[in-house]
Amino acid sequence: MKTRVLSRVLLLVLIVSMVLALVSYSKVKDSSEERVLRMDIAGNTGFPAMYTTASNGPGYAIMSYMFDTLVWKDDQGELNLLADHYSVSDDQLTYTFRLREGVTFHDGTPFTAQDVKFTFDYTALHPYQWTATTMVKEARVVDDLTVEVELNKPYVPFITDVAGNLPMLPEHIFEHVADPTFFTAKEALIGTGPLMLESYDPNTSVYIFVKNPAYHYGEVQIDKLILAPCSNAKEALLAGDIDAAAGMKYVTAASLKDTENMTFIEGQSIQVARLYLNFAEEALAAKEIRQAISYAIDRQSIVDKAVNGSAIVGTAGFVHPDSPWYNPNIIAYHYDVTKARELMVAVGAIDTNGDGVAEYRGQKLSYELLASDKDVKVCEMLVFYLQAIGIECVARVADDSTVKGCICDGEFDIAFDKHGTFGGDPKYMACLATDTAGAIRASVPGGKRWQNEGFDRLFAASLLEQNQVARKELIAKCQEIVAEELPTLAVYFPVNAAVYNNTVFEGFYFTADGIASGIPFIYNKLCLISGQWQGE
């Protein structure tokens, strides 16, 4: 009996020492001189080729490490990337791009005007989900490095929306590809970008890139970039498992502000969190009730408490207050319950039977409030505020996809959701117009929507107006209509933040108006060119 106990104890000691040995072994880091930068990524973003990458922000950003567009943005704003310079014809119909000299694809093939033409031709055949190229009539090769793009009709945001979004494909590879959405061979990743994919593991969602030594825009400052999912970015960053945390919540990032070696950066706000109202509900279709709702919601408190100050209070005109397009003269709708109640009474929404819920034309103002399970706190506050003016809401939370899906299908009464692409050119206001072409899908609710001829006319005119001052005037008028009519209610504009370890790499920034169509992350590839490697 004694010997058995002894042997068991010995076995235990053996196991423990093995484990400890294993663990101590892990401390030995490979001491190669490679400059490896490690960042976090929010889960799997698909096979990172142009047509196969996930249709979310990180999906595009990761793809853009390998593929360049004609123009691009850094923290200052627009710059020419594959284009050396471009010009626009007076009728706004023809764009002439002069390409940068000496650019090659990762496999050594030179990048020429023919590739640009091919890309426009190819996307006409195989629509690209990130940007529509339907307005392009024809792309013509002028010479090896010059290409002309002719449009069907003027499209003012062409440079930001198309030239700044559309990755240039190598003709010699894609000319043979019939269906690019299922093309996941290694060749599908050959572009002109600063990085080349070394490996992608769909199981672990780890992306490893190596530098493109022949990058045309400058020397890449790192040798390797590793992107891996990380469930606790803050601790991982402090522990040195990652060098930069891109997908950190604002509050978490802010808590690292004063930490040694950590740099906290705050992005521009290019997202909107807003209330969708279903106009099939008679009461919600009444302008006065929408205005009452707007007065009844204390947006400042929501920003302070529900999102811990990581946002800017929403404006009624659906344009960001920091934007050059913002019209400061619109109605502000400061929190005012008395006024809200007055509006309700004026329009006849009164609680007649004393159950605490108002009725409007015989119908009880009792709704379901749909929101993402990430926004339960906002949801709780909204329910509370609406209750105060006699609108009863039952909260229903679901995951992001369900919420977006229900909004797109019109299966909601009142919904709260966030979406991006809310910066830069105000073309995103298309989601409020009758003709929603050009708006991202997630921002257009299904079912019965707000429709206003005056707005439609002004907005359509703004898309064609070439004079900036006149266009600004049109957009300002649009905002006035929106603020008065309140087709949607912008609750707040979230602000993104990131933290990185400045002893490893210095020079991350948030891109002006977001990467490409407004992606609010620090994944801009040009950080890797302009930044400096700090580690030894």
Binding site: N203, D399, H419
Partner: protein
């Protein structure tokens, strides 16, 4: 009963399992279709304008959302007959390939977890049950308390404490990013990443089995043959192994069968916290991106696995009880 004698038990079992199979195929077909909203609405992400038409075609050809329900089901059966689970439009890869890629990691984590936890649980439970004067019951409190701590909480605490603060183990992932199957030290690296999730999984799984074997032991212990074994002077280890464990085994096997079924998804919480690339993580990804073929495939594979496991355990239990022993010599 007499009428049934004509059908052999083997045939009856096969029929039964065939019906189970149909039932789970139907479940895997029906559940994803119960999700509200048009599947196509979900596919466009936050920034995308529209879903590529070829993806839609591919999806429509397999999932056929516009056909009537019965025809969809027939199509599904036909595809399954061809062993075609469809194409994941999020990963742009065959569903089967993605599932087995993830299943590999899940099993790597949960099978050892299951073996260790069951072994440990029986060891603890039987010892508790056999301890003199009910002293074993004192261990009941910590076991129950451990059982009551939600697994996700335990995992998160362990990760912060051992992974990040004490740096004893790698805190997340299945291997160091950058190390591939061909690099030297791969196996060791995988093992290191496995340890912390495994420990959490084992700790979360031990209490229920331990309490079960404790209760069973208490019952068996009251049996006359255990007392008699003592009277005969049979050694304590033999009493434990040959008299107690052998007799609580059927119950443990029943439990084990359930635990093994839970294996495929039971480690979900642990996987989620440690970013471990298993089936649970895949399912979460699939549901959040509404990758219907993938969701359907995961449901089918995990339910199939469940049926197989319970068939295996049932046959083990049957052979076990058959030799046992309940047969009278003249029967």
């Amino acid at each position: 009963m007499a009428r049934r004698v004509a059908i052999s038990p083997a045939l009856r079992n096969i029929t039964r399992y065939f019906v189970y199979l149909l039932a789970i195929i139907f479940i895997s077909f029906a559940l994803p279709r119960l999700i509200p909203g048009n599947p196509l609405s979900f596919m466009a992400g936050d920034y995308a304008k529209d879903v590529p038409s070829s993806v839609l075609q591919q999806f429509g050809a397999y999932y056929a959302p516009d056909l009537p329900f019965t025809q969809q089901f027939i199509l599904y059966l036909r595809n399954l007959g061809k062993l075609d689970l469809g194409y994941s439009f999020y990963y742009k890869a065959p569903v089967a390939e993605r599932i087995f890629g993830a299943l590999k990691w899940t099993l790597l984590l949960s099978l050892p977890g299951l073996l260790i936890s069951t072994g440990l649980a029986i060891w603890i439970g039987v010892r508790m049950g056999l301890a003199a004067n009910d002293r074993g019951a004192t261990l009941l409190l910590p076991l129950l308390a451990t059982q009551a701590v939600p697994t996700f909480l335990m995992a998160a605490l362990a990760q912060v404490l051992f992974g990040y603060k004490l740096r004893l183990f790698p805190a997340s992932g299945a291997c160091t990013p950058g190390i591939t199957a061909s690099s030297p030290g791969y196996a060791l690296d995988v093992l290191k990443h496995l340890l912390l999730p495994l420990i959490v999984l084992v700790i979360s799984e031990v209490p229920s089995t331990a309490i079960l074997s404790y209760n069973s032991t208490l019952r068996v212990r009251k049996e006359q043959y255990v007392s008699f074994a003592k009277y005969l002077g049979i050694s304590e280890d033999d009493v434990r192994q040959q008299f107690v464990i052998k007799n609580i085994l059927p119950e443990i096997l029943g439990k084990l069968s359930m635990q093994t079924i839970l294996c495929v998804t039971g480690s979900l919480f642990v996987e989620a916290v440690f970013s471990y690339p298993g089936l649970g993580t895949l399912l979460k990804q699939a549901t959040s991106y509404r990758d219907y073929p993938l969701m359907q495939g995961i449901l089918l594979v995990s339910c199939l696995y469940g049926v197989c496991i319970s068939a295996i355990f049932e046959s083990i239990l049957n052979t076990h009880t058959r030799t046992d022993y309940r047969r009278k010599p003249n029967e």
